[in-house]
């Protein structure tokens, strides 16, 4: 088998992320300058990024009667694990929480409110605003990739409880699946 799509699609996505992140680090110096026009930000109270991320994940992947949402797939806990995982690129992990800070600053600038307190319509407008710029789109797409992992990877990794994501999408997993002894961080690598 050639290494190719979908593996290559994933690889090129990762490659694009690496390149975009480098662009971010060089061009923006980690500041808000690239994401939002200057002069529109105000001082932001210290907000736990996980409060913002929780609200963002719920908005990006809402619960519906016939399909699981972020809470149903343990997306927040899954993302916490990703951010603590040395197998995930350190820049990417920092980027996830830093992006939450930017989103919070934007919520303050636009509405003088925490992102988590905004109604759905305002959240949507803010997220669309974020997605309109490359760095913001990169951040959101990173969150969505990990949401999809929480939806569809083996339950031993903390998402997809009882295969809820597989059932919804009628996906047939392979066997044997990793269990708590064979998750990758427990392999004798």
């Amino acid at each position: 088998m050639r290494q190719r799509p979908p593996e290559n699609a994933l690889e090129s996505e990762k490659q694009a992320l690496r390149e975009r992140r480098r662009f971010l680090l060089q061009a923006a110096g980690g500041s808000l300058a690239l994401l939002f026009p200057p002069g529109r930000t105000t001082a932001t109270p210290a907000v736990d990024p996980w409060v913002t991320l929780d609200a963002a994940l719920r908005h990006l992947f809402p619960h519906e009667a016939n399909s699981p949402g972020a809470d149903d797939i343990n997306a927040l806990a899954y993302l916490r694990r990703v951010v603590a995982d040395p197998f995930v690129d350190a820049d990417e992990r920092a980027f996830i929480t830093r992006g939450a800070g930017w989103l919070e600053e934007l919520a303050q600038a636009a509405h003088q409110q925490l992102f988590a307190k905004l109604d759905a319509a305002r959240r949507e407008r803010l997220l669309r605003h974020v997605a309109a710029r490359p760095v913001g789109e990169n951040w959101l797409s990173t969150l969505i990739v990990y949401l999809l992992e929480a939806l569809l990877t083996a339950p031993a990794y903390g998402g997809n409880p009882n295969g809820i994501g597989w059932s919804w999408l009628r996906h047939i997993p392979g066997f044997p699946l990793p269990d708590s002894d064979t998750v990758y961080w427990k392999l004798p690598l």
Partner: protein, 558 residues
């Protein structure tokens, strides 16, 4: 003179396994040094994160990079460390190497592949060369692989079939998907012959390996039953069982130290704690996969080899090969089909096992009598997260919320995608080669490989020609949304070349026995030896050649 071992094998994949197996069984002491960990069957599960989304079977790029040199849009060469972007060239860094993660599509090379230059003549901009051996010399070793590694299949004669000395495969074919019979019919309707693809997958148990369990998750996953003919399951476990083969994992070899006579004296390596170790042997076999083999030789300078071991003619690293070609797909839409047909399409587990060889040699409108390739059919890879990522964009627009969820439902529930892969020759050129980076080092402080990548225009033209034929078969099958893509980007798991074998020491690194022309206790047995790569996946040929070379090593040891 006393040595630690008779034979030291560096790298444990398809090139190293046969040497360890044969020499240990012949009563010789063998040590295998493998940079990665030693994972066993019990560690391999159908884990998308481990196989394909985290650096588990490959090193993190922050620790071990490559420098990739490619032409930019203005045609200038640009070098960039691949932790900053560019392809990741690692695959399968563990005992057994990338053979753990292959699909095991096993095709022999064909007689014309050994004689491309004399059959088709030179090609501008390509360094095409005949092999110094012919198909007949390798044939008994292809057969040996069928028996020892285990190849399942069923001979179905066709015009481009490579001659065989045995009537059929030692293992019956794997179970087949309902689509396979439909591919046969569609091919017949087009005047073609769908070939049953032999697989390095056991269909009957072996004393130490179970037969295939048809999980539906094969290529890119380690095999949990032992059915897949990886170097680890098929050869190294048996070599260790003789009591004469020692495998040292986490052993990063960084230098082959040679003396004033040009012979290797010992091998220097870092153990899992980063401490430098050395050991010696009568014969050294390098099989680290093409890029890393070239890197190790180039880094191993010595009193007789100022430019790298066996490199006084500047041939090490030249004519690196990948597999040219590309991929195509068509969807079988469930709408309008009866429930039984949908059920048949959704079957997972059995294999498609069909390929077209009809254009292995063909008349191209521009190039005339030409070398072509094969088209291999397979269901889209089953990894669900990778599949879902297709659904998160609509054009350039990032989707989320209900829009994303409806798109996911459409991607997963309404069709199934049949893929094809085109394999054709990656012509050897001066612009595809391995050197040592002067700036970038790995976590042990040794220089990394700088890989210049470029494809010959002929590779793309032949690949596109074949992809169009693959699309035709998908149309005949009734697939929709048929598309294909042929690109110059190399598949990192299909590497060869860089240390050509040949008769002329000025134009090759290895002699016809895969012994270095300039170093009589050095052999190279991964795909590096290949002057041209043929138009099929490399693994069977690497195995066969390594078994052939094992006999030469036995003779040399006396």
């Amino acid at each position: 003179m006393s040595r630690d071992f008779d034979v030291c094998v560096i790298g444990s994949g398809a090139g190293g396994g046969p040497i360890a197996y044969e020499l240990a069984r012949a009563g010789r002491s063998v040590v295998v040094l493998e940079k990665g960990p030693w994972l066993r069957e019990r560690h391999f599960t159908k884990d998308e994160l481990a196989c394909c989304r985290r650096p588990v079977y490959t090193p993190p790029l922050r620790d071990e990079k490559h420098v990739i040199e490619q032409r930019d849009e203005q045609g200038r060469w640009r070098a960039q460390s691949n932790d900053q972007g560019g392809p990741n060239l690692w695959n399968g860094n563990c005992v057994g190497g990338s053979s753990n993660f292959m699909s095991g599509f096993f095709h022999r090379m064909k007689p014309i592949d050994f004689k491309l230059l004399s059959t088709f003549g030179p090609i501008d901009g390509a360094n095409v060369a005949d092999w110094p051996i012919d198909y007949a010399e390798l044939e008994p070793w292809y057969r040996h692989v069928e028996e020892v590694v285990g190849v399942s299949g069923q001979v179905r004669p066709h015009a481009h079939e490579a001659p065989r000395s045995n009537a059929d495969y030692p293992y019956p074919p794997t179970r087949e998907h309902p689509i396979s019979a439909r591919i046969d019919e569609a091919a017949r309707a087009l005047g073609l012959r769908a070939v049953k693809v032999p697989r390095a997958i056991l269909t009957r148990p072996h004393p130490t390996r179970r037969s295939c369990e048809y999980s539906g998750y094969c290529g890119s996953f380690g095999c949990s039953s032992g059915a897949k003919g990886s170097s680890r399951a098929a050869l190294l476990d048996q070599a260790v069982a003789t009591g004469r083969c020692k495998i040292i994992d986490h052993a990063k070899v960084h230098r082959l130290v040679s003396d004033a006579r040009g012979r290797i004296r010992h091998v220097a390596w870092f153990d899992r704690n980063g401490a430098e170790q050395r050991l010696d042997a009568h014969i050294y076999v390098v099989a680290c996969q093409a890029i890393e083999t070239c890197r190790l030789l180039l880094a191993s300078t010595g009193p007789r080899f100022p430019h790298g071991l066996a490199n006084n003619h500047g041939q090490v690293g030249r004519n690196l090969l990948f597999s040219a070609g590309g991929v195509g797909s068509g969807d079988f839409d469930f709408r309008g089909r009866d429930p039984d047909e949908i059920k048949a399409l959704r079957v997972t587990g059995p294999f498609v096992n069909r390929a077209l060889h009809d254009w292995y040699r063909f008349r191209h409108p521009e190039f005339g009598d030409s070398k072509g390739g094969i088209i291999e059919f397979l269901w889209e890879h089953p990894n669900p997260t990778a599949h879902a990522q297709n659904a998160m964009w609509r054009g350039d627009r990032l989707l989320w919320g209900r829009e994303l969820k409806r798109n996911l439902e459409a991607w997963f529930r309404t069709d199934r995608t049949l893929d094809f892969e085109v394999f054709n020759d990656w012509l050897p050129t001066d612009d595809c080669r391995v050197e040592l980076s002067k700036q970038v080092r790995d976590r042990w402080g040794t220089p990394v490989a700088k890989v210049r990548l470029n494809a010959h225009p002929r590779d793309l033209a032949v690949g596109r020609w074949l992809a169009e034929k693959g699309e035709r078969l998908l149309r005949q099958l009734g697939a929709v949304r048929i598309r294909s893509s042929v690109s110059p980007n190399p598949p990192p798991n299909l590497q060869a070349g860089g240390c050509r074998f040949g008769n002329d020491p000025g134009r090759s690194v290895l002699d016809p026995d895969c012994r270095a022309h300039e170093v009589d206790n050095l052999f190279v047995t991964d795909g590096s030896f290949m002057p041209t790569g043929g138009s099929v996946p490399y693994t069977w040929t690497i195995y066969a050649n390594s078994f052939r070379v094992a006999e030469k090593i036995k003779s040399q040891l006396g």
